[in-house]
C-alpha cells in the first residue's frame, strides 16, 4: 500500500474525480487511509439524483426534433450532468458514468431523443459500481443503443451486423478475439428488437429461426442472456475491460502484467466493478512514481476541475457546454462508437489553444469569442483563502502544489512569481494593494496556461 501523504492523496483525487478543491484535499486527508477513503467516500453507494426535468418521461415524437425541443433538452441534460460532476464531492460515481458513456459510446446525432439518452445515462449510473456482465445484457436491449447501432428492426433472416460487431470489438472482447463468422452469427441472436418510444419490444417473429448458431466455438440456441454469458466466459473479456480501466485511471500504455492481475480480481468477483476499483486504487501500481502527472486531462476533467480549484460558487455551465464542443468532448456526442480515445488525441494545435482560452474565461469573464461568462473568479478573496496569501513566495509554492501534479522548475517558478508581483518586490506584496486584483488575474492565467496544468 502506498504511503498516506498529501502528494499521494492529490494524485488519488486528481485521477478518480473531476479534479478537486483545496477543501476536497483536506476532507480526503481526514479519512486517514486509502482504505477508509475508498469505502466511506469514493466507492460509496449514493442515491440516484433527481432527473433533469419532466421531459425524461415524455414519449419521443418527431415534432420534438423538428421544433428543436430536443436541442433545449440536451442542453439541460448537459448542464445537469456538469453540475453533478461539479458537486460530486469525493464520490466517483459520475466518473464511472462518464467512463461507461465513453465505453458504450452513443451519439446524440443518431439517437436524437434525449429521453432515450437519459435512460441510458441512468442505466450507467445504476451500474457505475455494479455488475458489468449484467450491464452488457441490459445495454444490448437499451433503446438508445438499439437505435444507435441499428439493432432496431434487425431481423434474424437478414440481420444488421452493426451491434454484434461492436459488442465483440468494443464492448466486451476486443479486436482479434473473434471471427467474422462470430459477428454474423451473433447478429442473428441479437435480432428481433424494435424500439417504440421509451421502450424496446421483442418481436419473436423477427428473431432468427435456426435451431442453433455457433458463436465463439459453442453451438446453441442462444438468446441475448446466454450469448452475453458465453462472451463473458472468454478469457479476453475481463482483460479487455481491465485494460480500458487501467488506461483511463493509471497510464495510457497498459502494464499488461498488471492488467492480468486486475482480470483475476474481476473474474473472482463475477464481474462486479466495485471490488476491481478498490483493488486498483489500493495498488502500488496506481501510485507508481513514474505515472504521477502523466495523464493529459480530458476536457471535462479540465473544465470541471478548474472551476473546483477556483471554488466558484456558480460556475457557468453554458460556457462549459460550448467549450466542450470546441475542445472535442461534447457529452452524448463522442466522435464515433469507439468513444474518445483520450490522452494525446485530445491535443491538436487548435484544442491546445482553446484549453488556454477556457481557463482564461474563468478569470476574465469572457469566452474566446467575447461572449460573457458568468460566475467568474473574484481573485482577491480567493487568494486570501490561502494561508500564505500575503507572502508571495510561499503563496506561489502553495498554488503550484495544489494546481499541478507535475513539478515545475525553479526558473518557471521565478517567472510566475514575477508575473504575480508585476514589477513590485516580494517584500511589498500584499493582496490588499490596489493592483493585486490584476496581478492575481495574470498569475492565475499564467499558471493555467502552463502545459503542466494539462497533466494530472
Amino acid at each position: 500500500m502506498a504511503a498516506w501523504n498529501s502528494k499521494h492523496v492529490r494524485h488519488f483525487v486528481a485521477r478518480t474525480l473531476f479534479g478537486y478543491s483545496k477543501n476536497d484535499v483536506s476532507v480526503a486527508m481526514s479519512y486517514g487511509s486509502f482504505s477508509e477513503l475508498l469505502d466511506a467516500a469514493l466507492l460509496k453507494e449514493i442515491p440516484a439524483p433527481a432527473a433533469p426535468n419532466a421531459w425524461v418521461n415524455t414519449p419521443p415524437a418527431a415534432s420534438q426534433v423538428t421544433s428543436n425541443e430536443v436541442g433545449t433538452w440536451y442542453r439541460e441534460f448537459n448542464y445537469w450532468w456538469f453540475k453533478l460532476m461539479y458537486k460530486e464531492g469525493l464520490n466517483m460515481q459520475e466518473k464511472m458514468v462518464l467512463f461507461l458513456h465513453n465505453h458504450f459510446a452513443n451519439e446524440r446525432d443518431k439517437v436524437q431523443y434525449p429521453q432515450n439518452m437519459y435512460a441510458q445515462n441512468a442505466l450507467f449510473r445504476k451500474y457505475a459500481f455494479g455488475n458489468f456482465k449484467q450491464l452488457v445484457k441490459e445495454i444490448s436491449i437499451d433503446p438508445a443503443m438499439l437505435i444507435y447501432l441499428d439493432g432496431n428492426n434487425s431481423r434474424g433472416s437478414v440481420p444488421n451486423e452493426n451491434y454484434a460487431r461492436e459488442l465483440l470489438e468494443l464492448f466486451t472482447m476486443g479486436i482479434g478475439n473473434y471471427s467474422e463468422a462470430d459477428v454474423k452469427q451473433a447478429a442473428k441472436v441479437l435480432s428481433g428488437w424494435q424500439v417504440s418510444g421509451l421502450k424496446a419490444n421483442f418481436v419473436a417473429g423477427r428473431w432468427y429461426t435456426e435451431s442453433s448458431v455457433t458463436v465463439l466455438g459453442k453451438t446453441a440456441k442462444f438468446d441475448i442472456n446466454s450469448l452475453v454469458d458465453h462472451i463473458f466466459d472468454q478469457k479476453a473479456t475481463a482483460e479487455f475491460l481491465c485494460r480500458k480501466l487501467y488506461k483511463e485511471f493509471v497510464y495510457y500504455k497498459p502494464n499488461e502484467a498488471f492488467v492480468l492481475q486486475m482480470a483475476v480480481v474481476l473474474r473472482a468477483n463475477n464481474y462486479e466493478i466495485k471490488p476491481l476499483l478498490k483493488f486498483l486504487f489500493s495498488s502500488e501500481e496506481f501510485f507508481t512514481p513514474a505515472y504521477l502527472g502523466s495523464k493529459i486531462k480530458n476536457p471535462t476533467e479540465l473544465m470541471v476541475g478548474a472551476c473546483k480549484l477556483f471554488e466558484l460558487p456558480t460556475p457557468d455551465y453554458i460556457n462549459m457546454y460550448e467549450l466542450s464542443k470546441v475542445l472535442q468532448m461534447q457529452l452524448f456526442q463522442p466522435p464515433d462508437v469507439a468513444g474518445w480515445p483520450g490522452q494525446r488525441e485530445w491535443i491538436s494545435s487548435t484544442t491546445y489553444s482553446y484549453r488556454g482560452g477556457f481557463s482564461d474565461s474563468l478569470i476574465t469573464g469572457k469566452r474566446y469569442n467575447g461572449v460573457a461568462v458568468s460566475g467568474k473568479l473574484v481573485p482577491v478573496p480567493y487568494a486570501q483563502t490561502f494561508l500564505n496569501s500575503e507572502n508571495a513566495v510561499e503563496f506561489v509554492d502553495d498554488v503550484l502544489a495544489l494546481f499541478l501534479q507535475f513539478p515545475v522548475t525553479a526558473k518557471k517558478k521565478a517567472f510566475l512569481l514575477e508575473t504575480l508581483l508585476g514589477g513590485t518586490i516580494v517584500k511589498n506584496w500584499s493582496t490588499y494593494t490596489p493592483g493585486a486584483n490584476v496581478n492575481l488575474q495574470q498569475f492565475f492565467k499564467a499558471v493555467m496556461r502552463l502545459p503542466e496544468f494539462q497533466l494530472c
Binding site: E161, G293, S349, Y352, D360, Y368, T409
Partner: protein, 499 residues
C-alpha cells in the same frame, strides 16, 4: 521520444528553420516543386458500389433489390460503370479528363473494424502488422529531415478540423497543424505561453514534451497561416457545407502562397447500415459540389496544375444489402484522384460481384498503397526508392498521372504491372495499361525462355486490361510474364507459382 524531448526547446526560439534551397536526397527532380496533395477522408466506410455503380450488371440489382441505383438515374462513365446521380460536379470534371477512378482498391486480409481499418489506411501497413506512424508523416519526415530540431517556414501538413489524424503522427512528433479557421486560430494561439526548458526524461516528461511541441508548432504557424489566408483569395462561392468550407480554406491558403505539401479534409457519415439511400446521396452531393467548386477555384487562379485531390475511406460495403435497407462493412472500393494533371478515366477492371471472398465481399484489384505510392512519386516527386522505404516494400505504380514516368520514362506508352497475387497458387491476374492504341502480345515463359502459352494477342485501344490466368496446370517454379508491344516495348515480370 528522446529526440522529441531534445528538439522541442530549440523549436521554440521563434526562429523558423530555413526552407530547403535544394531538394533533399529522397526527392526526385522530375516532378515540379511545390505540388500539394489534398486528401479527403470519407469516414465510416463508403459504399463504393453505390458510388461508382455497375448499373448494367444484373447481379448488382439482384443483391441490392431495395438500394440499387438504376442506370437511367445514374451518370454514365464507360465500360458499364456509372456515377451516383448526385455526383454531377465530379461527372463534369470526369468529362474534362480530370478524374481518375481506381476501381476496387483494398488490401489482403481486409479488416472490417472501422478503427483498425482506418489505422491501416492511415499508416500504410499490411493488415497483420500494427504501425504507429502515419504514411504521410513518414513522407514529411523524409522531406523535412531537420524537424523537430528546426521547423520549416511553412506548415508541413494542414488538417482542417480539431483532432489530429494518425496520418500526420510519428515518433518524431506531430507534423500537422490542425485548425478550423485561420483567423480564429491566430487569435486563440495569441495567449499561448512558451518556454525553452527541456522536460525531464520521464513518462510524464514525455507527455509534457508532446504538449510543448504542439504549442510551439501552433505559435510558429498560426501567423503564417493567417497571413496566407489574408493574402489568398477564393474566386468562386463555395456551397454552404462543412466540406466545402474546408476546401475553400485550402484553396485560399494555396492561393496565398502556402507551400504546405499535404492537406487533410474530412467528411463523416458513411457508416450506412440502415436506410442508406438518402444519406449516401446527400454525402456525395456535398463532396461532388465542394470538389467542383474547389477545382474551378484553382483553375481560375492558375493553381490547378499543382494540386491533386485524393479520396479514401476505411472500407467499402457488403455487396448484399442487409435487412434494414443499408449495407454492412465490406472491403474494396474505388478511390478518386482528381486534378488537372490526372489522366482521367477508369483504372482497373470493374468490380466482380460474383467471385467474392468467403464473407461475401469484393476482392481487391489494387493494393491501396499502389495509389499512395503513385501519388508520392508522380505528384509529390518522391523517388521510387524513398517511396518503397515509406511502405517498407515496393508497390507498382498506377497510370494515374498524365506525366507518369510509367509513360514518360519508358517512352513506350505501355506498362505491365506485377502479377497479383505473387506467388500464385490458383489464379493470377495479369494486368497492363496501354496509353494509346497499340498491338500487344502477352505471354507466359519459363526461365529457359520457352513460351508456354499466349495470354493475349491483339490490338487494344488505350485503357487498362486485366487477364486472369489459371496457374494450376503449371508445376511450382519461377516463370516470366512478357509483354511486347508495337510501340517497341519489351517488359518482363517474374511470376512464382506454388502448389
Amino acid at each position: 521520444m528522446a529526440l522529441l524531448s531534445g528538439g522541442v526547446g530549440l523549436g521554440i526560439s521563434g526562429i523558423p528553420g530555413q526552407a530547403y534551397a535544394a531538394l533533399p536526397a529522397g526527392l526526385a527532380a522530375s516532378v515540379p516543386a511545390g505540388n500539394a496533395l489534398v486528401i479527403i477522408q470519407l469516414s465510416g466506410g463508403n459504399d463504393g458500389l453505390n458510388t461508382v455503380i455497375p448499373a448494367e450488371n444484373d447481379t448488382y440489382f439482384a443483391k441490392r433489390p431495395d438500394i440499387a441505383i438504376k442506370k437511367v438515374d445514374a451518370l454514365a462513365l464507360k465500360n458499364g460503370m456509372y456515377l451516383h446521380p448526385s455526383m454531377t460536379g465530379i461527372k463534369s470534371l470526369y468529362d474534362q479528363g480530370n478524374v481518375a477512378i481506381v476501381q476496387s482498391v483494398g488490401y489482403a486480409n481486409p479488416n472490417r473494424s472501422h478503427f483498425r481499418a482506418t489505422d491501416i489506411w492511415n499508416t500504410g501497413s499490411d493488415a497483420n502488422v500494427v504501425w504507429e506512424e502515419g504514411w504521410a508523416a513518414r513522407y514529411l519526415a523524409e522531406k523535412y529531415p531537420a524537424y523537430p530540431i528546426s521547423m520549416p517556414a511553412h506548415p508541413m501538413a494542414i488538417q482542417l478540423g480539431s483532432v489530429e489524424s494518425l496520418l500526420f503522427q510519428s515518433d518524431m512528433g506531430r507534423f500537422g497543424t490542425v485548425f478550423e479557421d485561420p483567423n480564429l486560430f491566430y487569435q486563440l494561439v495569441s495567449g499561448t505561453l512558451s518556454d525553452d526548458e527541456i522536460p525531464p526524461a520521464t513518462l510524464a516528461g514525455d507527455e509534457l514534451a508532446f504538449l510543448k511541441q504542439v504549442s510551439s508548432t501552433s505559435i510558429q504557424y498560426s501567423t503564417v497561416i493567417r497571413d496566407g489566408a489574408l493574402k489568398g483569395a477564393n474566386s468562386v462561392t463555395y456551397p454552404a457545407t462543412n466540406l466545402a468550407k474546408q476546401l475553400g480554406i485550402v484553396a485560399k491558403l494555396i492561393s496565398g502562397g502556402l507551400e504546405t505539401p499535404v492537406y487533410l479534409c474530412t467528411i463523416g457519415g458513411f457508416d450506412t447500415h440502415a436506410n442508406q439511400l438518402n444519406q449516401h446521396a446527400n454525402l456525395w452531393k456535398q463532396i461532388s459540389d465542394a470538389v467542383a467548386a474547389f477545382q474551378k477555384d484553382l483553375k481560375t487562379q492558375n493553381k490547378a496544375d499543382k494540386v491533386t485531390l485524393m479520396t479514401f475511406s476505411e472500407f467499402g460495403r457488403r455487396v448484399n444489402q442487409n435487412g434494414t435497407t443499408g449495407t454492412d462493412h465490406g472491403t474494396a472500393a474505388p478511390m478518386f484522384v482528381i486534378g488537372n494533371t490526372v489522366r482521367g478515366g477508369l483504372i482497373g477492371e470493374n468490380p466482380n460481384l460474383v467471385n467474392l471472398d468467403s464473407n461475401g465481399d469484393l476482392k481487391p484489384n489494387f493494393d491501396y498503397r499502389q495509389v499512395y505510392s503513385t501519388v508520392l512519386s508522380d505528384h509529390l516527386g518522391l523517388s521510387t526508392t524513398s517511396t518503397a522505404g515509406i511502405f517498407k516494400k515496393s508497390f507498382d505504380r498506377l497510370p494515374i498521372f498524365l506525366n507518369s514516368p510509367l509513360i514518360a520514362e519508358a517512352g513506350v506508352k505501355v506498362t505491365l504491372l506485377d502479377p497479383a497475387p505473387n506467388p500464385a497458387s490458383s489464379q493470377v491476374r495479369i494486368q497492363f495499361a496501354a496509353f494509346e492504341a497499340m498491338r500487344i502480345e502477352l505471354a507466359l515463359f519459363d526461365m529457359q525462355g520457352q513460351k508456354l502459352g499466349s495470354i493475349f494477342a491483339g490490338e487494344v485501344p488505350s485503357g487498362t486490361y486485366t487477364y486472369p490466368v489459371d496457374v494450376t496446370q503449371f508445376p511450382a517454379g519461377t516463370y516470366l510474364v512478357s509483354l511486347a508491344a508495337s510501340t517497341g516495348a519489351r517488359i518482363t515480370k517474374r511470376l512464382i507459382i506454388v502448389n
